[in-house]
């Protein structure tokens, strides 16, 4: 267990106004939204709550993980979901200059700081890579020597969010490894997988990495997180070292 919350973990949670500064397409279904808001500095792994208000006062809220490193402009990587109320607004309506309500940063558990060290295992499924990206970026900036492996499952090569940045990090940083698992498309690189992650694959990937992770962060859909977290415990990892963040069902 993690004991007392790290300093700064308690969020300042008053609603405040956010301004959308820039939109960047990541994949066919994911865009990054860069936001300016007077929030406290976040820690890698935390999220914000977003609230939209209709002219008659009706409001809708969602939580979005922060993909940017602490100190960088706030980046929310939002997947457009079928029938998504808030995600569809961001994808189809929002333009730079638009404003909405935001509060956070929130969350004191799914958080990595340089002082936590490693070896560090990150496992993400789909848009669940967003908070892991904040950790990847924070590690690169503050603790580049920490052995880190990102195992990232996406449907296809073209649906790998942050692909170019991750490939660059993989090429440039001997202490950072990247394994891509594509569930509906072929593997593109040596060491990548063209299958859905299961217990055997997780064990195999860890074995090839050759490190015993001290911290694991697993984020994605319920079933994905359940499979991976269970597999990690089966490999002998202490359950307390495995932190999970689950995205609910498709109705978000």
């Amino acid at each position: 267990m993690t004991g007392a919350p790290p300093a700064g973990a308690v969020p300042a949670t008053a609603w405040t106004e956010a301004t959308l500064e820039r939109i960047e397409r990541q994949t066919a279904r994911v865009k990054s939204f860069f936001v300016r808001a007077p929030l406290r500095a976040h820690a890698a792994g935390q999220h914000v709550d977003v609230r939209l208000t209709a002219p008659d006062g009706y409001q809708a809220q969602r939580s979005y993980s922060i993909a940017s490193a602490p100190g960088d402009p706030l980046e929310l990587a939002i997947e457009e979901l079928p029938e998504g109320e808030v995600s569809s607004y961001f994808h189809e309506v929002a333009q730079p200059g638009d404003t909405f309500d935001i509060r956070g940063p929130i969350g004191g558990h799914f958080v990595w700081r340089a002082s936590d060290g490693g070896p560090l295992l990150l496992v993400g499924g789909g848009s669940g890579v967003a908070p892991l990206m904040a950790i990847v970026r924070e590690r690169l900036r503050t603790a580049p020597g920490v052995p880190t492996l990102l195992v990232y499952s996406a449907r296809t090569w073209d649906e790998v969010i942050f692909r170019d940045e991750l490939l660059r990090a993989d090429a440039a940083d001997a202490d950072f490894g990247l394994v891509l698992a594509t569930t509906r498309g072929p593997a593109q690189r040596a060491g990548d997988l063209a299958r859905r992650l299961d217990a055997g694959l997780v064990a195999g990937v860890l074995s090839r990495w050759g490190q015993a992770p001290r911290h694991a962060f697993v984020c994605g859909a319920d079933a994905f997180v359940e499979t991976v977290a269970t597999a990690l415990v089966q490999t002998g990892m202490a359950a307390a070292g495995v932190r999970t963040e689950r995205y609910g069902g498709p109705s978000r």
């Binding site: 300042a12 208000t53 969602r62 309506v93 558990h109 319920d222 359950a239 932190r243 999970t244 609910g248």
Partner: protein, 202 residues
């Protein structure tokens, strides 16, 4: 202030009345937990009431299963903003549990404690008089491990993180002590109708 171009997808009026502020309805049963799902062996399962460090009463699984059972249909509300209507639970109310144990609550607060070292605080008044149960069945079947089985606390009128999964006991405390999420930015009480999500929410 209104968000330019946002009209929203309003729930039907019948749903809207049952949705606390900031919640949306889901038909799924999403999972929120801090780590891996613990697998709890029924042969070694016990449920213990403590007054601080002092054990007051303890039940094995067989003893627990012989207690009076109650069925509820309730709406549940997760702080991550989903709500699910008409969930069907079966278990032992805290009233029946305390009566079977012969325990009168020695304090006004307690921490529900789980097998994965999770804990969460709930005032005793929110657990008694038919407001909470230890649930062991969901939708007519044994409660799945992913959803907290073999047994979880069910306090449907508070945000669902208060309904501790994989519960192994209740520990009465002299004062209101924060549990796992309450020490990590979440509200000490967690009433969805007052939208008490985070520490500083009124």
């Amino acid at each position: 202030m209104a968000t330019r171009g946002f009209t929203g997808k309003r729930p039907a009026d019948t749903d809207a009345r049952r949705l606390p502020p900031g919640q949306y309805r889901t038909e799924d049963f999403p999972v929120l937990s801090m780590g891996p799902t613990p697998r709890v062996d029924l042969a070694r399962w016990t449920f213990t009431l403590h007054d601080g460090p002092r054990p007051l009463a303890s039940f094995t699984w067989a003893q627990f299963e012989s207690l009076p059972r109650t069925s509820w249909r309730r709406d549940i509300h997760c702080v991550t903003k989903w709500s699910k209507f008409d969930t069907e639970w079966e278990g032992v109310t805290i009233d029946d549990l305390l009566a079977a144990a012969g325990v009168t609550p020695p304090t006004d607060y307690l921490l529900a404690q789980s097998f994965d070292d999770y804990d969460t605080n709930v005032p005793v008044a929110d657990l008694v008089e038919g407001r909470a149960m230890i649930a062991t069945r969901y939708a007519g079947a044994p409660l799945a491990a992913e959803h907290g089985g073999p047994a979880r606390l069910l306090v449907p009128h508070l945000y669902f993180w208060k309904s501790a999964k994989w519960v192994r006991g209740l520990r009465f405390t002299k004062k209101d002590e924060g549990g796992f999420w309450e020490l990590r930015g979440y509200h000490m009480y967690g009433d969805p109708w007052r939208e008490q999500r985070y520490t500083d929410d009124p």
